[in-house]
Symmetry: C2
Amino acid sequence: MAEATTRRRSRSGGGAARRAERTTLKIETAKYIERNIPLFEILNEEALEIIEANAELILEEVGVNFVNNPGALERWRNAGADVEGERVRIPRGLARELCKTAPSRITQHARNPERTVEIGGNTLVCAPVYGPPFVRDLDGGRRYATMDDFQKFVKLGYMSKWLHHSGGTVCEPTDVAVNKRHLDMLLAHMTLSDKPFMGSVTEPSRAQDSVEMCEILFGKEFVQENTVMTSLININSPMTFDDVMMGALEVYAANNQACIVSPFIVGGAMAPVSVAGTLTQVLAEVLAGIAYSQLIRPGAPVIFGAFVTSIDMNSGAPTFGTPEASQILYGAGQLARRLGLPFRSGGGLCGSKLPDAQAAYETAHTHNAALLGGVNFMLHSCGWLEGGLVSSFEKFVMDADQLGVLHQMARGVSHDENAQALDAIREVGPGGHYLGCAHTQANFKEAFWRSELLDYKPFETWEDEGARDTQALASLRVEKLLAGYQKPAMDPGVEEALNAYVAEKKASMPDSFI
Amino acid sequence: MAEATTRRRSRSGGGAARRAERTTLKIETAKYIERNIPLFEILNEEALEIIEANAELILEEVGVNFVNNPGALERWRNAGADVEGERVRIPRGLARELCKTAPSRITQHARNPERTVEIGGNTLVCAPVYGPPFVRDLDGGRRYATMDDFQKFVKLGYMSKWLHHSGGTVCEPTDVAVNKRHLDMLLAHMTLSDKPFMGSVTEPSRAQDSVEMCEILFGKEFVQENTVMTSLININSPMTFDDVMMGALEVYAANNQACIVSPFIVGGAMAPVSVAGTLTQVLAEVLAGIAYSQLIRPGAPVIFGAFVTSIDMNSGAPTFGTPEASQILYGAGQLARRLGLPFRSGGGLCGSKLPDAQAAYETAHTHNAALLGGVNFMLHSCGWLEGGLVSSFEKFVMDADQLGVLHQMARGVSHDENAQALDAIREVGPGGHYLGCAHTQANFKEAFWRSELLDYKPFETWEDEGARDTQALASLRVEKLLAGYQKPAMDPGVEEALNAYVAEKKASMPDSFI
């Protein structure tokens, strides 16, 4: 990253950039979570071996479809698969063998080197909600998302201490043409934040635009040698790889940019109703997808993804934060680790329409499972509401605050001499109290995680202040954060070049809303 | 239990009881949770050995106080401890040795044998909130609890499918004299529910009353040979055992009734600010308390308790559902298992004033830690609000519904042929869907946990119905459950005898409100 920094400095306008750097508010951000705790493994060796054998059996016997993608079929044929129409049957062991060139850990660079993240091993990188067409806040209710909303979410993400990643489509800016909004979204991530971000996947050409904008931001050579985007490639479960998603993956893999290869499954609809059956399908799909990425470019960075919800079999509604979803997350994490791949799952998932108790129960279940299940990249970690239809401003800051719980939990338990606190126990003795003792004085500042949002006040104070619930407190926090937002320093030359790129691209085509 | 059943039948009034049994609504209750999943163990062997060695060191070097209790001091002296004033120093190894006679598993009988619970090993028994002087509901707000509230909570507990235990002081009935309310509380648990319950601990004489009422309910001989109450004995941390709590423990242990021996710790105030230091003190206190129970009656059933919250070091307010509390729970569970004792911790703990998102985040963290940390008896598993000052009607049914999540999670992941679902994957193939396939049809009813409270409706339906949040839905559920409540069948002779006992006891002493 030193290289990129130097390059940017040398191109800077000089005084203006330096002044901006000096006056900019320092935003404190935790780099990423490093787990110093064991993982929770729900499947035993026998179950894992059965699922792995069945996944290979499915690939060989049933196969997967690569739709509208003659190039992919050709690549598979050359690699030794049995291709029949669009169906690709992959002989036992082939996909697993191809996956071996994928790295086990990814360094995703941010334009601010302090925000660069490590994805893999014992890390957990948290990124915000992705994809909702609606937004909600306490004052404005539920409405279609706009670019203004999008920018606000990027600003909130930038100012959230426990959020490591700026994400991608934090909401769909529905007031910008479908064929142009990726440009505005990327520009917002690049200029309003200095955290790492995701690229566009809605068209191969938009993936290419994303790469080109990164070349302006980081330098062309730096992009070819380093990962600067992590993008979300969903598989159309069951076992279908469409040309749009695969086209985007082809662009990213060829450019050494990271892809999350992720089955998107509503259990019972797009996979069997059983946990073991769903895991079998997830593994088969991910093996095929990641193997394909390695056919594009051996060594291309990829993440084993598993986005699985359950379903309310009475209404057909997808459900979130359920025990079955947690079981699948735990199992998928084990399968990913056995492949030596970074793992994406979890999030602040919930089905509730409001940032209420239901939303929080479901989110906390998913957060906990992600931490203990070994997730390395947690998309949707804050702001997700209503089954992903809504990005909620209040829930964004509520969940982002909760990510601090995961950080503290991941620190694990020290048993060094200071942590043993024998002298404190001796000093205080039966019937005393520890508030004033030397050990407490020396350690209390670091001892406990502290929320910046939740209410711990005496009842009377809380009542005098309006008896506010979490949503009301969060609404105030959103307002306060946005009022205090300051754009991170940026080389004016780079910003100008990015703006010019976006303007030119937009001018080159008519608006399309499909 | 067959014996007790026969006894009750033989004493029944005959026709009336049988008619009552025939007409009574059958209430479905899960027996208790049996974990078919591994546990999460946060401490490594080295940390465990250090904490165990330090706890013994503290007992030997610093000791514990048994206050106003010459009998206890005499018992400790006879057992080989070094007694000096009220300070009891316990030589290394002695407390651990004494604990060996405590059983590793407790069968607590309910008057309905179907509700009898097993506490220990892989089980988790859930009991409701204990102790709050206030209640809250959506319509009435926060107010002092009354006996009417108490009875409503017992009824709700009886009707809660995933709640196994009726609990104890589900709220403090402040409209009944302090010296008499235990009689009304026990009568409510015994007559309005048929689930197991807890005895009084606020005076040794009230523990004795509890035993006597159980003798009426179960028969004198049955009570002496079986455990029919699990009662909560708090230790005054740090390391102080008061005469009231120890007096109650003496009564229960002598009568073969179970006690939870539980440090009550606000971390940073009543124990060191570090996790390892707190665990050391918890272990020392529990070793001393359980050893003492075995001095009263070797083999007396006891539970290793750990109620530990953290503290907001700025305001001094206790905080709940924090990562430090979870770490302590996980560690304490490991220490309890190494002693071969049942373990009590966890609950639906939270600091929030309302059943809002904060309450749910904090509750879910504690619920999850309890499940994965090996808790065998979870007091406060539903209804707790505002740091234990308030029993909330809405939160009672919200949390009770969430206990279903823990049941489903604990079932673990099957990998039998049906769960592998290979034929389903073959049948559906790439691009299909599973909703109608044979495997889904055969399995969907049992596949997913289903909330009886949370909202999964389409947005438009939800909006048309009033855009209700979880609290509003819970309020309706409370109303509906109470409206549908039917008293479980009971031998009229037994009920008459219980009423007569309570009336006589109450008449024998003037009201006291201190």
